[in-house]
Amino acid sequence: MTVLIWAKRGLGFFVFTLLIGFVLWTSITARPWQLEFDWAARYGAAYVYLIAPLLAAAVSFDVGRRARPEMTLMGATARRGLMAFMAPALAALGWAVLAAVGGWGVMAAITTFSGGLAPRDPWIFVETLSSLAAAAAVGMLLGLLVEGILAVAVSAGAVLVAATVTSGHGANLFQVATSSGTLVGIERTPQRAIATVVCHLTLVAVAAACVAARQRAHPLSTPWLLTAAVAALVPVVTAMVWPYSASEYRPSGELQACVGSQVRVCGPSSAKPLLLMAATDLQQATTKLRPSGLPLPESFAIARGSAAERLPRDQTLLDLDSSQLVEGHLPSSTIASALATPRLCRGFYSSQEAPALIERVRVVSEWLTSAFADQSSPGPAPEVVVSSFAVLSQCPQK
């Protein structure tokens, strides 16, 4: 009941308004991710870095400036006394969670109506919610311990500093690994997500324990409190100094799926809708270009990082992300680029060979693009195109 009261009277609604505003602004103004929920959610999660300090400040204001001192005393005389402090924190957290969930709802609706990919990354939810919970916990604790309006500034500052200092380490406090590009073919590195979540949950637990210890109705002896605090901090410290060589994301270990008949496109099974769109467009393109005489590739694969280098010789790398699909279709430039690069040549990585190879790609690509644009059926490809394509098809693979 008190949580609902504080939800109505506290500053949580202010946080909600800011957060939902940010999410809606993001979803309306920038939608390269409209076919991919995970990308949308990771892209939008940038707000956590900004909202977490505000949430901590709002909670510390409600706890420090409003709930004290009488509610402290009355809470200490009651069996549910801890709620005197936890209710404002839970209310503000509830608003923030509601905004986050609302944002995900908007993103889910957009991706669904666009025929995009469903959520597949569970860490985004856990990381976001744990970040918000930790920020609220810090606000609650500092609102209780720091006197006056200073608590608001200290809370916001502490969260902001922690987020900035830990950025790029094993665990990123009060922020979520974001992405400004597709997540098809890659996934969140679980160890890093776990480290972050463990840190957040530990902060919540330590804050709750300190609040309970501070409440004289539930006194904890100093040795017990010290032991508990040290035990709680061990996983935090461990997670923080975890020797990470892993990056934020790694190539997806997801099962591969292939779609299409004459032209096949393979990729992560969760991306089947995108694979099907690509396969349809590539098949139409290769059918139209058949008179050219070029032995165009008919088997493509979406792969990232080291997985791209391990593709079999008969598969062509398709560098595709959902933002390239316009109303469900690949633009002709993307199709031309894919067809003109049948292999991932080793020469692309050599400063001596790369310019010549790239020039051949340009020659083939330009001719293919003009052939698409031509309403009539294209004739045989010019000799320069045929010879360039032959070099690109037979080059040693990386």
């Binding site: 009488e70 200490a76 005389t77 109705a217």
Partner: protein, 255 residues
């Protein structure tokens, strides 16, 4: 002893090296008891300990036979209500929200808390201001909200810390009338105002520097006070002070 609703044995409390309470022992089985003493005598400390908000350094407290610092803490706390000395409740909450919240803290269900809060506010005459925010209430109204939250869980033992502090004479009279009408079995209230003590209390407890120096009926104290004031007999600072004030108060009343 077992039927005594409120019992305190050898209660001692220290703030670092300072002694807040020193071996206080008393018992009340029913009625209104006044807790009297100069500032710093330990009145608020004693009331906070009785309410379970502060663990004493040593000694024991029994609320209806239950230990508020032991395993039966939850049950013990549900038997006692505390009106704090100040009324600095969250200014953004309405009077009803404050009282209902505290009822819920005390273990009352959400639905009952709302009903009881409305009843408690009506009892203190604030039914028409129940939906006013605390920041919009006058000092006297805020004190009545403080009283409402103390009685909202319908406790057997009611502890009132300076209930008439900060009130004008009219408000003070209204507050005293309220205190007299309270349904709790035991009411302990601290006060500096002798008229309040005379109007409400049957028994008086006098604290001086953390020690209980007097525990008896008001009538006996008044008789003794008359003797002290006329014979100038030696006594402790607080006792003499209190008795003098009491004597003065009676003199003013006669005049």
């Amino acid at each position: 002893m077992s039927n005594q609703l409120l019992r305190v044995d050898a209660l001692t409390h220290r703030y670092g090296r300072e002694r807040g309470l020193d071996g206080v022992t008393f018992a009340i089985d029913s009625g209104v008891g006044a807790l009297v003493g100069v500032n710093g005598a330990g009145k608020s400390t004693l009331l906070r300990i009785l309410a379970g908000a502060q663990r004493p350094t040593s000694g024991s407290v029994s609320l209806a036979g239950l230990n508020p610092f032991g395993r039966d803490r939850a049950d013990a706390l549900s038997r006692v209500g505390l009106m704090p000395q100040t009324s600095d409740f969250p200014k953004n909450l309405t009077a009803h929200e404050v009282v209902a919240s505290i009822a819920w803290f005390k273990g009352v269900s959400s639905r009952q808390a709302k009903t009881r809060a409305a009843e408690a506010l009506a009892r203190v005459g604030l039914e028409d201001r129940a939906n006013s925010r605390m920041g919009q209430l006058s000092g006297g109204m805020a004190r009545r909200v403080a009283l409402a939250q103390a009685i909202v869980s319908e406790p057997d033992i009611l502890l009132l810390d300076e209930p008439s502090t900060g009130l004008d004479p009219e408000q003070r009279r209204a507050m005293i009338a309220l205190v007299r009408s309270l349904p709790a079995t035991v009411v302990v209230f601290s006060s500096h105002v002798m008229e309040d003590v005379e109007d409400v209390a049957a028994d008086v407890l006098i604290l001086d520097a953390g020690r209980l120096i007097y525990e008896n009926s008001l009538v006996q104290l008044q008789e003794r006070g008359a003797a002290v004031s006329t014979q100038s007999a030696p006594g402790s600072r607080a006792e003499v002070g209190f008795l003098d004030v009491l004597s003065d108060s009676r003199g003013r009343a006669r005049a």
